[in-house]
Amino acid sequence: MFVDQSLALAAVDDKRAQPAAAPPPRRRHRIRPSLAVGGGILIVFALAAVFAPLLTSWDPMAQDLEARLSPPAWVDGGSSTHLLGTDSFGRDIFSQLLYGARYSIGVACASTLIAGLVGVALALIAGYSNRWTSGLIMRSVDAMQSLPPVLVALMVAALFGNSVVKLTLVLAVTAWPTYTRILFNVVRSVREQDFVSASIATGQRPLNVVVSHILPNVASSIIVITTLQIGRMVLLEAGLSFLGLGVPLTSPAWGTMLADGQKYIHTDVYLSLLPGLAVTLLVVGVNLFGEGLRRTLNPRN
C-alpha cells in the first residue's frame, strides 16, 4: 500500500544522506497533475455523496421485485428509468452508488480521524516519556501490526455485532498503529533538538512545547499518512461489507453490492463491475492526491 511505501520512503528519507545533486525544482509554480487529478476525483465523489438526493429520485433501499436485474440504460433491455440498472431486489444501482458513497467516504474519514487522534497522541506520549512507557506503547504497536487487519476486524464484528459505529471503531483500531510507528521517531528526534531543550529550560510548559515545536514538524507526515490511510480504510470497509460484517444490510454499501453481484456475475456482470469501479476510482483519487501531497511536502523525492 502507498502507506507502507511512505513508511519505507520515510525511513529512507531520514536515514540517507542528502543526495549529491538534487534536481532543480522546476515545477514549483504549477500544480502537480497527481494533486489535480486526485483532488478532482475526490471532489466529484464528495459532491455525489452530498447531493445524492438531488441526483436521483430513487430510494436506494426501495425494492421492486418485478424490475430486478435490469441492465444499465445503454444496454439492451435497460431503460432510462434506472440509469445504471437495478440489483437483485430491484433497487436502483445509481442511487445505491451515490448513497453508498456516503458510507464509504464517511466511515473511512471518521475511522481515520479517530485513528489519527489516538495514534498521534500515543506517538507524542511515547516520544516524550521514559523508556518503559514508550517501550510499552511501541510493543503494542508491534502487536497490532502483526495481527492481520481483516481477521481482527472480522473477529470484532462477529463477536460484537455490526453497526456503523462499531464498524468505524473497528477500522480505527486497525489503523492507529501506523501513525504511532511513523511519528514516534520523528517526535523523538525533534524533541532532542536544541531549541526544544532550550524552551524547556526557559520554563515553557510541555504542552506548549508540543504544540509549538513538535506538531509543526510532524504535521506534514500526519497529513500524508492520513490521506493514504483513508484509501486503505475504504478498501477495508468494502472487504468487511463484502463478507457481510461491515455496513448493516439496511443501508447501502458498495461492498454489500459486490457481495450481491458475485452471485450474478455470469449473467449480470454490471452488479459487480460498477461498485468495484466505484471503490477503485475513489481509492485511486485518494492515493493520487496523497501521493501528490507527499511530493509537494517533500520535494526531494
Partner: protein, 523 residues
C-alpha cells in the same frame, strides 16, 4: 552516497539471502503440497467427481454431528440393513424383516457379504453397530432415531432381533442411517473409529482430507454389483461461486446445490445439464409464540401469512426453482400431508385488516432473523420479506448472520420474534414435527396443547392409517393457527456434466453413486 567494494559484495550476499529465503518458503510450500495431496484416480480408469458445499465433520459414521454431507459421503462406503427407494423400504444388508410382535422386529441378513478388509458381515456386526449407536459415550447422531430401542439380540449368524420399549413406527427409517461397521476392525483400533475405515459398501475408502475431499475406489466384489466408475471423489468446495466455476471448467462432474442465480447459466452450458428434485422439506418463518408480543396472537400471525407474496418471491429471488407450500410444512410425498389445505393467498389488505383487528392498526416494529448461505437465497429472502412486511405496516429489520451463531440463537430460544428456517421431514413426521411442540430440542417457541397431544398420539402407534389421520389434523391445526409463516417447498438443483449417466436426484437429498457412469476419459 558513497559505497565501497566491501558493501557491494555484502549487498550481493543480501540479495542472495533474500532470494534464498523466499525460494525456501516456496519450496516448503511446494514440498508440503506434494506430500499432502495423494494423487486421485491413481488406479486409472474412470473417475466421478462430486462436489458440494460442506463435507462430513468426522470420519466416524456413528459419531456426533452427522448431517446431510455425512450421510451422503458415508453412504458410498457403508451399507445399512434397509434402504428407502421409490416410497418404500427395500432390502440392503437385511433381505427380509417382520414384526414378531409390536415390540419385536426380526431381520434376516444377507449372506456371503464381506467388509472391504475381508472381515465377514454377520449378525454380530449388526449387534455391534446397534450397541455402539445406543452407547451414550459414543454420542452417535443416530441415537435419537432409536430412542425406543431396548436391546438387540443375535438369534443366529443371519438373524437379528431388535426389541423396543414402545411400538416404534420409525425403526426402519432409523435403520436406513445405521451404517454397519466392522466389529473386529474397530476393536483393533481401540474401539475408536479407524482412520482407515472399511465398510461393506460399493466403494472403498482411499483417503480423506478434512474440508477438502474424500477419495474412494470401486469395490469390485460388492454384493450389489461393482460400481460403474473406478474412482469416486467427493469434494468440498464451500464457496458457491468457486464450486460453480470449478464445475463450469469441467473439474467437477456433479455439482450439488447450484446457486439459484446460476441455474440459467448452467442450462446454457453445452457440456452440462441441470437436474432437480423437490425435497421433502419446507422453508418457513418460525414464530416465537411463547414470549408475548404480537407473535403470540394468531390474528397477527395470519396477517403476516397474508402479507407475503410468495409467488413473487418464487418468480424473482428463487428463480422459479421452488413452489409454494400448501399451507402446511408437509409436501405431497410426506406422511401426514393434508390434501384439503392450501396456501394463504397474497392479500395485503386482509393483512392490514387482521392487524387492525388484533390491535395493531399502525403496524409494529420487529426483526426477522436468518442465516447466510445455509438455504438457497436465504439472506435475500429475509431482505425481500422484510420489505414486503413493511408494505403492510410491519417494520421488519432483516438480521442475517452466519449459520453457526444463528442456529445457536435458535437453540437457545433467542431467535424470535421470527426467523427463517429450513424444515426437513427426515422421512417421518414423528421425527420432524417435534419442532412445533413444546418438547422441541431446537428452542422453545411453541406451547400448543392441542398440537402437542395430536403429535404424541401419532408417534406411539404403528397403525399407518391412524397416524395419517392424526397428522392431517395436526397440519390443519397448524394452518389455522398460523403457527408458522409458510413459504416454499425447495428443490435441490444439481449441475450434471453431460458425460454422466445414471444419476437420479432423490427427494430426501441423499445420493447413491454406484449406478452412475462417466463417459469419456478420466478427469
Amino acid at each position: 552516497m558513497a559505497t565501497s567494494g566491501g558493501t557491494s559484495s555484502k549487498n550481493r550476499r543480501g540479495v542472495l539471502r533474500l532470494v534464498g529465503y523466499v525460494a525456501a518458503a516456496m519450496m516448503v510450500g511446494a514440498g508440503s503440497t506434494a506430500c499432502m495431496s495423494p494423487g486421485s484416480g491413481d488406479a486409472g480408469g474412470s473417475t466421478l467427481v462430486f462436489a458440494e458445499g460442506t463435507g462430513p465433520s468426522s470420519i466416524d459414521p456413528l459419531g456426533p454431528g452427522i448431517t446431510g454431507p455425512g450421510l451422503r459421503a458415508w453412504r458410498q462406503m457403508y451399507d445399512t440393513l434397509v434402504w428407502f427407494e421409490d416410497g418404500k423400504f427395500v432390502p440392503q444388508l437385511a433381505t427380509s424383516w417382520k414384526t414378531v410382535d409390536p415390540l419385536t422386529w426380526e431381520f434376516t441378513l444377507r449372506e456371503n457379504v464381506k467388509f472391504h478388509n475381508g472381515e465377514p458381515f454377520d449378525a454380530n456386526a449388526v449387534k455391534f453397530t446397534m450397541d455402539r449407536i445406543l452407547d451414550p459415550a459414543q454420542n452417535a447422531t443416530q441415537r435419537s432415531r432409536f430412542g425406543t430401542v431396548d436391546s438387540v439380540e443375535v438369534v443366529d449368524a443371519t438373524t437379528v432381533r431388535i426389541h423396543t420399549k414402545k411400538p416404534s413406527p420409525v425403526l426402519l427409517l432409523g435403520l436406513t442411517q445405521a451404517f454397519i461397521v466392522p466389529p473386529k476392525h474397530t476393536a483393533e483400533n481401540g474401539g475408536k473409529a479407524p482412520d482407515e475405515p472399511v465398510g461393506t459398501g460399493p466403494f472403498k475408502f482411499v483417503s480423506w482430507r478434512q474440508g477438502e475431499k474424500i477419495s474412494f475406489t470401486a469395490n469390485e466384489d460388492y454384493w450389489g454389483g461393482a460400481p460403474k466408475v473406478q474412482n469416486l471423489e467427493m469434494r468440498v468446495i464451500p464457496d458457491d461461486a468457486t464450486r460453480l466455476d470449478s464445475f463450469m471448467a469441467g473439474e467437477v462432474d456433479i455439482n450439488m446445490n447450484l446457486p439459484i442465480s446460476t441455474i440459467d447459466t448452467v442450462k446454457r452450458h453445452e457440456e452440462a445439464s441441470v437436474m432437480h428434485e423437490f425435497s421433502r422439506a419446507a422453508l418457513l418463518l418460525e414464530f416465537d409464540t411463547t414470549h408475548g408480543g404480537p407473535m403470540a396472537d394468531p390474528l397477527v400471525r395470519q396477517a403476516l401469512n397474508y402479507a407475503v407474496d410468495k409467488e413473487a418471491l418464487i418468480a424473482t429471488i428463487l428463480n422459479d426453482t421452488q413452489r409454494p407450500l400448501d399451507g402446511q410444512v408437509e409436501s405431497a410425498a410426506s406422511l401426514g400431508y393434508n390434501k384439503s389445505l392450501s396456501a394463504y393467498p397474497y392479500d395485503p389488505e386482509k393483512a392490514k385488516q387482521l392487524l387492525a383487528q388484533a390491535g395493531y392498526p399502525n403496524g409494529f416494529e420487529t426483526v426477522i432473523n436468518g442465516p447466510i448461505g445455509k438455504y438457497p437465497a436465504d439472506r435475500d429472502l429475509v431482505i425481500a420479506i422484510a420489505a414486503q412486511l413493511e408494505k403492510v405496516g410491519v417494520r421488519a429489520t432483516p438480521n442475517v448472520t452466519d449459520f453457526g451463531s444463528f442456529i445457536q440463537a435458535v437453540g437457545a430460544t433467542k431467535a424470535g420474534p421470527m426467523f427463517l428456517i429450513g424444515w426437513y421431514d427426515f422421512g417421518d413426521p414423528a421425527l420432524s414435527t417435534s419442532w412445533f411442540t413444546s418438547e422441541s430440542t431446537l428452542g422453545q417457541y411453541y406451547a400448543d396443547p392441542t398440537y402437542d397431544s395430536l403429535i404424541a398420539q401419532a408417534s406411539s402407534t404403528l397403525d399407518v392409517e391412524k397416524r395419517q389421520r392424526l397428522y392431517e389434523r395436526a397440519s390443519q391445526h397448524m394452518h389455522d393457527e398460523a403457527m408458522a409463516l409458510f413459504l416454499t417447498q425447495p428443490a435441490m438443483y444439481y449441475g450434471v456434466s453431460k458425460q454422466v449417466t445414471g444419476f437420479v436426484p432423490r427427494d430426501d437429498e441423499l445420493i447413491t453413486l454406484q449406478d452412475v457412469a462417466v463417459d469419456g476419459e478420466a478427469n
